[in-house]
């Protein structure tokens, strides 16, 4: 009995995904749990596993964006006739299948082009004392001009010509929506390597993307296409803007916070990650959240879900846009443990290796722009969470302590609250606790 392969919903809020490529071809045997195709969602790229075993009889959608629940392939016994099933499925899918033959055609053409450029295999090497790694030059004898192209004026590739790129470079380009054909490879023989793609990915991020971009040539408008991550940021933050929010700001003396962090650094063992001020804050905030359940909540379809544990999201800037991976159960972790988790999440954020699971289930978010010297700012909610804490830089400032004017390191924190779930007094009480914990971190334990 043939089974349809449908585009799965991999996480909360996922409505569509982009099939990057199939890892199996029509006619291949597939085991249950084996990876079938690569799916690019608005958060991560993930392999989708087969839910049935048999033979992949038909690939209905070979690549491109499809909605959740769309039939993208069929698995069944080798000799099954799936015409009827497919007719039904295609009616359900609407226009999607029309793209399929086009995409398959392109793939074939690409393969053919590749075949043509392959040199003949060395015919006889028996008995040769051949040096290692010197077969390469032969490979490109036909196209020496491209191989030595002037890097300042990249030779445009003939249409249909295969771009020489490492598999890693191809994957990063695919994930970030970069056209390899526009890049000049810095690897041997002009091969595009990962670094070339990463540089290309970071360039638009540093250039202002407004219409009056000064870096663009006079009279030219620079158009920046939204990557799928950027699209998600745009959609979710627009949604967040609809929530009725209010902000509360508090300042705290950060002397003890700094001292605590310094003590932890002194106690650090080899192989451990150096804790940051933000790691200490994450721990403190987790304790405060446990004391103020209304703040540790999500607003979901007209209900308030108050959570029993604090899963604190930390906002991380990457070349590709903002991501907020989650430190789970932060209230049960030591600061040193939080530092370890945070370092791993940040590293994987920056190398595009986060899984959906790393991004889901946050109950609160901390956004820290202190390292940029920002005194204070207002963060936009990270829905469905009901509150977010914006943390500024710690700066020496005049402070009145018991009637005396002193200079102390001061931290400014601004809490944005969703008024549908939290009242002013609840937000204020939470912030009061956070301030007390910052000034005496031991209270958080």
């Amino acid at each position: 009995m043939a089974v349809e392969v449908k585009l799965p919903r991999l996480g909360q809020g996922m409505e569509a995904g982009t099939i990057v490529r199939w890892l199996k071809s029509e006619g291949d045997a597939v085991a249950k749990g084996e990876a079938l195709f690569e799916l690019d969602t608005d958060k991560v790229t993930q392999e989708v596993e087969a839910e049935a075993e048999g033979v992949l009889l038909k690939i209905v959608v070979s690549e491109g964006e499809v909605n959740v629940g769309t039939t993208v392939g069929v698995i069944g016994a080798g000799d099954e006739d799936v015409t009827e099933l497919l007719t039904t499925a295609q009616e359900g899918n609407g226009a999607a299948p029309a793209e399929a033959p086009q995409a398959e055609g392109d793939e074939t053409a690409e393969k053919e082009a590749e075949e043509e450029s392959k040199p003949d295999a060395p015919s006889d090497v028996t008995g040769d004392v051949e040096p290692q790694g010197e077969v390469e030059p032969q490979r490109d004898a036909e196209q020496p001009a491209q191989a030595v192209a002037d890097p300042d004026s990249p030779t445009p590739r003939a249409s249909g010509e295969r771009v020489k790129a490492s598999p890693l470079a191809r994957r990063i380009a695919r994930e970030r929506g970069i056209d390899l054909g526009t890049l000049t490879g810095s690897g041997p023989e002009g091969r595009v390597v990962a670094e070339d793609v990463e540089q290309a990915a970071s360039t638009p991020a540093t250039a202002p993307s407004t219409v009056a971009a000064p870096s663009a040539a006079p009279g030219e408008v620079e158009v920046v296409q939204l990557t799928s991550v950027r699209k998600t940021i745009a959609r979710r933050l627009t949604e967040a803007w609809e929530a009725p929010v209010f902000q509360l700001t508090v300042i705290a003396d950060a002397s003890e916070l700094i001292a605590t962090r310094e003590r932890l650094v002194d106690l650090m063992r080899e192989g451990e990650v150096k804790p940051t001020v933000n790691d200490v804050l994450t721990r403190i905030v987790a304790s405060a959240l446990m004391r103020h359940r209304p703040v540790n909540a999500q607003f979901v379809e007209g209900e308030i879900h108050r959570h029993p544990t604090a899963s604190v999201g930390i906002a991380v800037a990457t070349a590709n846009g903002l991501v907020v991976p989650v430190v789970r159960d932060a209230q049960t972790k030591s600061i040193q443990e939080i530092a370890g988790v945070r370092a791993d999440l940040v590293e994987r954020s920056r190398t595009s290796k986060l899984q959906l699971a790393d991004l889901e289930g946050g109950t609160f978010t901390i956004s820290n722009l202190g390292m940029y010297g920002i005194d204070q700012f207002i963060a936009v909610l990270n829905p469905p969470q009901v509150a977010i804490l914006a943390v500024g830089a710690i700066e020496d400032r005049p402070l009145v302590v018991e009637g005396e004017l002193v200079i102390a390191p001061v931290l400014t924190m601004t809490l944005t609250c969703d008024h549908r779930a939290i009242d002013g007094s609840e937000g204020a009480e939470f912030l009061q606790t956070v301030k007390a914990y910052v000034e005496t971190p031991a209270l958080a334990l």
């Binding site: 004392v129 598999p167 041997p188």
Partner: protein, 326 residues
Amino acid sequence: MPEVTYREAVRDALARAMREDERVFLMGEDIAEMGGSMAVTQGLLEEFGPKRVRNTPISEMAIVGSGIGAAMQGLRPVVEIMYEDFLTLSMEQLVNQAAKHRTMSGGQLSVPLTIRTQGGAGWSPGAQHAQQLEAWFVHVPGLKVVFASTPEDVRGLLWSAIYDENPVVFFEHRTLYPIKGEIPDELEPIPLGKARIHREGTDVSVIATGRLVHEALAAADEAEKDGISVEVVDPRTLQPLDEEAIIASVVKTTRAVTAHEAVTRGGFGAELTAVIQHGAFDYLDAPIERVGAKFAPLPFAPVMEEHVIPHAADVLAAIKRTVARA
């Protein structure tokens, strides 16, 4: 026993196994009074007597064949083949008998036989006494293949080989016998199929076996001076192979070099390369480089031998090719 040689570590594993287990005994050419041509079994005849440390006629086929018989009868024989080049004379017994009995008998028989042997160039032994033939045996289902590179590893792995229910071809390297290393007082068995990361790095993974582990570590030190961070991984067991550890390393570093002393063509590096390209395809940022001996019978003349077998400089050159810029 803080610091011992690789040779002493092999001897220690044999002696401990024989002390603890009556079933363990040794057979081989000149291993008794003479202590073996590489002096590995020196002193064992005195401790364990001629019944358990047995000299054999010069017939590799007979040595392995009687080992198989003893193993099937419930003993745990460790036979020594003086040079791995001579394994060729025992191929029928190894490939068609030892490797097959367990499956062909439906598990009624097993052949817990360990075949210790050594080889390797670097001391002008000529073409017939220095080959590295480990890849031949990896191709035979039913055999396990070990190639240890340090004193600690050789002891722990030999122990596991002796107690494995399958025939294990256990390769030692001639030039590693005198190297020293610290090993714990207690013998800790090292499971077969577990790789060892000798040095962590972020730019290139060198997957090396035998003598080339040490050449790779030297190359890694050199590369570091040029700002290239090299990870050195020794699979230690070639079959079963710790694919997971190797792939994880290359996924991290995005570049790979395989290195062994055996000739490159059809060598174990080819298998490693296939495993890596499949498991880490989307993470590879450069073609996988292979380092091995040039494709020639090993010359006797020292300068020519030096030219044919790989050294740290060859590994370093391969490392640099993987991070090259046009």
